[in-house]
Symmetry: C2
């Protein structure tokens, strides 16, 4: 799970570059709009530019990075509208997944409870990276536990986008609340009430979305402006 982040190695098993980058995004260590140069990655992972480029191409196909022709590769920076669409997509998909569950193996609930314990630990210890990763990973774990092998990949990419969005638009949603909501969903699952679990999931994702603020986007000076304590009108 999260251990993969700590076991980042200097050697480069080719397609593991993708995983390291995605994990870093999930952990909130790479923000939206970050430049990912081919050469930089190549030297960082001590591989040739070719394999770095291939990793970027894979990430592009997964909707996580974008290439601007002859300008560079950048982590996606979704507009507010695109951000909303990602949340809508997640609501639809995750609700549909829960409603489509036929039988629920008991070990699924146990696994989710264990996951929630880890979430609480990360929150308590103030480990922001683990917190970000685990809060997103809950959803991946959920669909993983349901036995389908095609949905987790889809959801992982969507979750990565969500983390980027949350950082971009400064989600005010409290981590503790998210964790509580995860627990409520798990409780509903344990009780076998899939309908309620789906409803809780929809409102959970909706809550996170509702916490977004439109303010931050399309103002590249925000961080500087804040650092200099300047208001938006003041030049």
């Amino acid at each position: 799970m999260y251990g993969s982040l700590t076991s980042m190695q200097n050697s480069a098993p080719a397609n593991s570059i993708d995983r390291v980058i995605v994990d870093a995004i999930l952990a909130g260590r790479i923000a939206a709009g970050t430049r990912l140069g081919e050469q930089s990655l190549a030297t960082l992972f001590s591989v040739s530019r070719t394999v770095a480029r291939e990793a970027l191409i894979r990430l592009e196909a997964r909707g996580i990075v974008q290439v601007s022709a002859r300008r560079g590769w950048f982590v996606i920076k979704p507009s507010f509208e695109e951000a909303q669409e990602v949340f809508q997509a997640r609501q639809a998909i995750e609700m549909g997944i829960l409603l489509a569950v036929h039988r629920l193996r008991p070990e699924v609930v146990e696994k989710l409870r264990a996951h929630i314990v880890h979430e609480r630990e990360a929150i308590a210890s103030g480990d922001l990276e683990a917190r970000s990763f685990l809060l997103g990973d809950f959803h991946v774990c959920l669909v993983e536990a349901l036995g389908n092998r095609v949905l987790p990949d889809i959801l992982r990419d969507l979750t990565a986008r969500t983390v980027l969005i949350s950082a971009l638009y400064q989600s005010s949603h409290d981590a503790t609340v998210s964790c509580d909501e995860h627990e409520a969903i798990t409780d509903a699952l344990a009780a076998g009430d899939l309908r309620q679990a789906a409803d809780l999931m929809v409102s959970h994702i909706g809550n996170v979305e509702a916490g977004l603020t439109r303010a931050k986007d399309d103002d590249p000076l925000t961080s500087l402006r804040q650092a200099l304590k300047l208001s938006k009108t003041g030049e």
Copy 2:
């Protein structure tokens, strides 16, 4: 839409290789397990091996082709279990999408009706390729029409897999029936009954899945066996 298939050009605008291949899969012209050599594609599209390889890498990230190390690139050939999981995924996602619709623009229904007309034309004229393409494209068009821009891409790839699966496991589902079911779904949408539309969608996908036969898989001699009129027991 489908016109892109006929306007296949010899020049190669780079990433359009993907589209041509996916379209060919959607039209049923490329079967599961087909070899896609780097050199072959490169000469076919008159580009270098590099860009052909990049297209294959993209398709691999989308779950449409697989690479067997130093053996070659092949269109995926899902096992029966994987096939079932793809159908489950589509059921969950498409149901969730329909249930998550808030407001339905009337032009959506019109667009879908026009699409169904095309489906019937293709069926009537015996154009198998257009038929295959359009029957799958209905689902993509549906979510496209609902205004979300992240879901269509996901669904297109899933649909491509479905087409491959249907050909692999010789779906016995009649095209006319599928078309009728599309119409029923559209009717439910037109009536504003999203709940029924979702139910119809689930049963529609379930019907296609139910038409699969387990027989064909893991027997590479099937086509030869059939050609030689040999029964499965006869050697």
